[in-house]
């Protein structure tokens, strides 16, 4: 962890609850804001690279700090959920790319491909962790 600290993102009390200190909330808002800043700023290769790099840095730093605050059972659930999500994303990318390729339309719909893949990954991650939590 470079900036984010595990105590900013405390362990959950229930599946849908998440304790976060004001530092954690500020960190999260700053990370999410970069997405909107990237959308609102005029298109420029260098600015895009900087914003993307900054977002990825803050995002992974926050994820690592959150992981550190999880107990062993939560980490196990998270690992299983991420594995399932990864497979789902790979399958989605292959299927979607194949469909777009057959219509010679990959370049135009790259953004849609990325967003769909991320959404599928997020849904599978959430569903897996919910099921594991319910089962145990």
């Amino acid at each position: 962890m470079v900036i984010a600290k595990p105590e900013w993102f405390r362990k959950k009390k229930g599946f849908f609850s998440f304790e976060m200190t004001w530092q954690g909330a500020v960190y999260l808002i700053a990370t999410v804001s970069l997405i909107f800043i990237g959308i609102l700023l005029p298109e420029n290769m260098i600015i895009s690279i900087i914003i993307t790099g900054l977002f990825l840095f803050l995002f992974f730093d926050m994820m690592y700090a959150s992981l550190k605050s999880m107990d062993e059972r939560a980490k196990m659930h998270y690992s299983i959920a991420m594995r399932n999500a990864a497979w789902g994303m790979i399958i989605t990318m292959i299927m979607f790319s194949t469909i777009l390729y057959s219509f010679n339309d990959i370049k135009a719909n790259l953004g849609v491909l990325i967003i769909t893949t991320a959404l599928v990954g997020g849904i599978i991650n959430f569903a897996t962790r919910y099921k594991l939590e319910k089962d145990s």
């Binding site: 959950k12 009390k13 107990d71 062993e72 939560a74 145990s136």
Partner: protein, 72 residues
């Protein structure tokens, strides 16, 4: 076919110490959901966690708290 399951006496010892699940969870640095899963035998803890739970329940041996049983 024999299946191994983890049995625990966590609830019994916790009640003897008049401890809530939340208090035990705080003592061993896990969530209350993990304590619930442990008490119900739905989660097999790591050795480190098993030692911490045993210590928090003021028991001397891990075997007092956790035992492995075989059922058919």
């Amino acid at each position: 076919m024999l299946v191994e399951i983890m049995k625990t006496n966590i609830k019994q010892y916790r009640k003897e110490l008049k401890m809530t699940q939340e208090e035990l969870a705080e003592a061993v640095d896990v969530t209350r959901q993990t304590i619930i899963a442990l008490e119900q035998g739905r989660y097999n803890p790591s050795l480190t966690l098993a030692y911490r739970v045993t210590k928090a329940l003021k028991r001397r041996y891990i075997e007092d708290v956790f035992s492995l049983e075989e059922i058919d």
